[in-house]
């Protein structure tokens, strides 16, 4: 799965994007956030409060119950502050 990060999620994880094979039990967005959080200090800092993280799958907003696609781009980012 291609993961992309923005704003302070990107800064805390320390990279803009990465390709990670996901284990079979990671099926939903919520599973992904909790699984990623255990990958290291940067991830733990970025995903400390998973509920605030906003997620897009293939560039469309989804909620945390959404199922992950077989392939594609999953983006994690903070609440948006444009305008």
């Amino acid at each position: 799965m291609k993961l992309v990060y923005f704003a302070w999620v990107r800064e805390r994880i320390g990279k803009e994007a990465e390709e990670i094979p996901l284990p079979g039990e990671v099926k939903t967005v919520s599973d992904l956030l909790h699984w990623l959080k255990e990958r290291g200090d940067g991830y733990a800092a970025a995903l400390e409060h998973p509920r605030v993280i906003r997620v897009a799958i293939n560039q469309e907003h989804v909620d945390h119950e959404a199922r992950l696609p077989e392939n594609g781009e999953v983006a994690l980012f903070p609440p948006m502050t444009g305008g």
Partner: protein, 155 residues
Amino acid sequence: MAVCIPLVRVQAEDFDLAAEVERMTGGRKDVGAVVTFTGRCRDEGGRLAALELEHYPGMAEAELARIAGETAERWQLSGLTVIHRFGKINPGENIVLVVAASSHRKAALEAVDFLMDYLKSRAPFWKKEHPAGGEPGRWVEAKAADEQALERWKK
């Protein structure tokens, strides 16, 4: 009346308000109202040196197009333009422009208000403030009020 096709641009460079209004009204005699909103960078009483706007390339355009499309479906507009900048923006510079044109004022006024409310909470842009004192930049926090503002548009 046909639904207008919105113009959406995400760009680093500045925009020209007069040119964008002219694009919508030039040579037309059916446009009775043009409403524009320009969002600009404040200096927060001298405390802010610059804003840095990060965006999600691809999704920023797609999401603005979705929001603008919904706006055009909901109000009878003859034209709708949304331009959002990214990158470093100094106090006094423009950040975002929305222009809506319609036969009567109410449609254009409401359309711009609706579009900005949705843009604030749904378009993938993030502001980082760079303080005038040279301290490290800090990310602007989303306001609960922005999310709540969407409630009044629920049908």
